[in-house]
């Protein structure tokens, strides 16, 4: 019995390694939206998903490490959020599937039928708003009474708590900072995220899906947005909350948070790979940053230029013709920047790549 338990816990620990969990999540994302949409949208699936998640968390609480992480007052709302994310994703897909079926049959979508049956503000709307606000009040009251505010000792510049975690909604950013330089992950990317979200209604000129859920009529818009939200934001929050421990090392959900866990993370710049492994320039790094980082610069510029050409001429040709130049180039710029994050993460996991372009002299690292 104990050995089976050990086997299962170590298997789950191994599965939660960033590279494996990330890959598995991407595959699952693809399967849910492109292969199993109909099955996923069934009510049964929702009950099954929420139920098994609940059972998983409940049973896992037998493990002391898991219990202490999950029941920490900071983390309880995040556990709640996981259930909500599953529910709302399911709800959207559920509605999409219903509407897509109606559209295929040439019928009106669900909302159009609903819109014909008017209801009164009073009492119908006000009453349900009232009930909702009472429930919200109750939840907040109980929450504030039962869970202690997670206050820590007074701030001290020479002592950083270990691990030091951002507020939960910023843990995605903190995870990004592990892979990118502060000026990129802390300044450029957050700006791009905010600006990009603001720009969505100006870039997306597809009138379909206005006021109703549909997948088939706006596949690209929904997949790219949900990839950014579910994988690059929610999944990174899960990493940061549950799987990052002391010294910002990676810990499986059942792994004891050992302060002295030894993780070999010797990261290497691309330039070091280039010169040391090929013996170019006698295996020594040139002092001139342009010579040293030339390959990295070419790769980064090439990614954006060649990526744009490829999308424009090949993969998103129709979209380019529909949207026009300015919209399309802004879209591609945002899209390629978003893609840069998973690319760098994978490179870090596979070959311990630190920076593609590393010029610390000028605070310029990519």
């Amino acid at each position: 019995m104990a050995t089976i338990g050990n086997f299962i816990t170590s298997a789950i620990n191994a599965f939660c390694q960033p590279s494996i969990l990330f890959t598995a999540s991407c595959i699952l994302f693809y399967l849910v939206f492109f292969r199993w949409r109909e099955k996923f949208a069934e009510k049964k699936t929702l009950y099954w998903m929420e139920g098994s998640m609940g059972v998983f968390i409940f049973v896992s609480c037998l493990n002391p490490t898991f219990r202490s992480v999950v029941t920490k007052p900071d983390n309880i709302p995040i556990v709640g959020m996981l259930f909500l994310v599953v529910f709302f994703t399911w709800l959207a897909v559920h509605k999409m599937v219903i509407n897509d079926r109606l559209i295929d049959q040439g019928l009106d979508v669900e909302n159009k039928k609903e819109a014909k049956e008017l209801v009164f503000t009073w009492p119908d709307l006000v009453f349900s708003e009232f009930i909702c606000s009472i429930i919200a009040w109750c939840v907040l009251l109980i929450w504030s009474i039962v869970l202690k505010a997670p206050l820590e000792e007074p701030a001290n510049p020479v002592e950083t708590p270990n691990p030091s975690k951002a507020p939960w909604y910023f843990l995605g950013l903190q995870e990004m900072l592990v892979y990118y330089d502060p000026w990129l992950a802390g300044v450029v990317f957050p700006t791009l995220i905010v600006v990009g979200l603001i720009l969505i209604p100006f870039i997306d000129i597809n009138p379909k899906g206005n006021g109703y859920y549909t997948f088939k009529e706006r596949k690209f818009a929904i997949t790219s947005f949900l990839f950014g939200f579910l994988i690059l934001w929610i999944l990174l929050i899960i990493y940061g909350t549950f799987l990052r421990g002391p010294n910002w090392n990676f810990f499986g959900p059942y792994e004891v948070w050992d302060l002295h866990k030894l993780e070999v993370l010797k990261n290497v710049n691309l330039s070091e790979y280039l010169f040391r492994s090929t013996g170019l320039n006698g295996g020594k790094l040139p002092d001139n940053p342009f010579l040293r980082e030339g390959l990295g610069m070419v790769l980064v510029i090439g990614y954006f230029v060649y990526g744009t050409i490829l999308l424009q001429k090949k993969w998103m040709k129709n979209l380019y013709e529909k949207m026009g130049k300015p919209r399309f180039y802004i879209l591609v710029g945002l899209l390629l920047s978003m893609g840069a994050l998973p690319i760098k993460m994978v490179l870090r996991w596979l070959i311990n790549l630190k920076y593609i372009v590393g010029i610390p002299e000028w605070f310029f690292n990519i």
Binding site: P163, N249, L265, N267
Partner: protein, 173 residues
């Protein structure tokens, strides 16, 4: 269409009066803002600070064991003093990634930052995690009484080749 006539009164404000008042109003506003900002700016220069001095004496070299990272001044001055076979140097405790304070892990012989996992050797060279450059070193020398003197106002950065500067390293014969 007849042009509308405005009733004229004795004490109507003339255009000139109006602009005079506008100038007075804006001048007053600017003066008030300037005064308030000056008063706020003054807050950045307190009469007295309770920070430890930037220059301090760190005892005699004999108090430091060879190949050990000494943490006695970490809390008060934010420095580590490290002695190797050749001499002594003084490292800043500010991570070069985003400024958290790393911990010295004796068993693994590295500084490890709790915020994003940056790691540094005892020399201060970065080797893991996202830190883009090594920890900074401070000016180190001898005072007249033979103690180690550290000056935190002068920093030496490896990536700029400043660690070759003799005052970034206290050579012990």
């Amino acid at each position: 269409m007849p042009t509308p006539k405005f009733p004229e009164s004795e004490n109507a404000i003339t255009r000139r009066d109006f602009f005079n008042w506008v100038v007075v109003g804006w001048a007053g506003f600017a003066a008030a803002m300037g005064g308030a900002l000056t008063a706020i700016g003054r807050l950045f220069f307190p009469n007295i600070t309770f920070e430890p001095p930037q220059q301090f004496k760190a005892g005699f070299p004999a108090e430091y064991a060879v190949n050990k990272v000494d943490e006695r001044f970490k809390k008060r001055y934010g420095v580590w003093i490290v002695r190797n076979e050749r001499g002594i140097y003084c490292l800043s405790t500010v991570c070069t990634h985003l400024g958290c304070t790393p911990n010295w892990l004796e068993g693994e012989a590295k500084f490890k930052c709790p915020c994003h996992g940056s790691g540094f050797y005892s020399t201060g060279i970065n080797f893991e995690g996202p830190a883009p450059r090594p920890l900074e070193r401070y000016r180190i020398g001898r005072s007249e009484d033979g103690q180690i003197a550290i000056d935190k106002t002068v920093k030496y950065q490896f990536e700029k080749g400043q660690w070759n500067d003799p005052s970034s390293f206290l050579e012990l014969a």
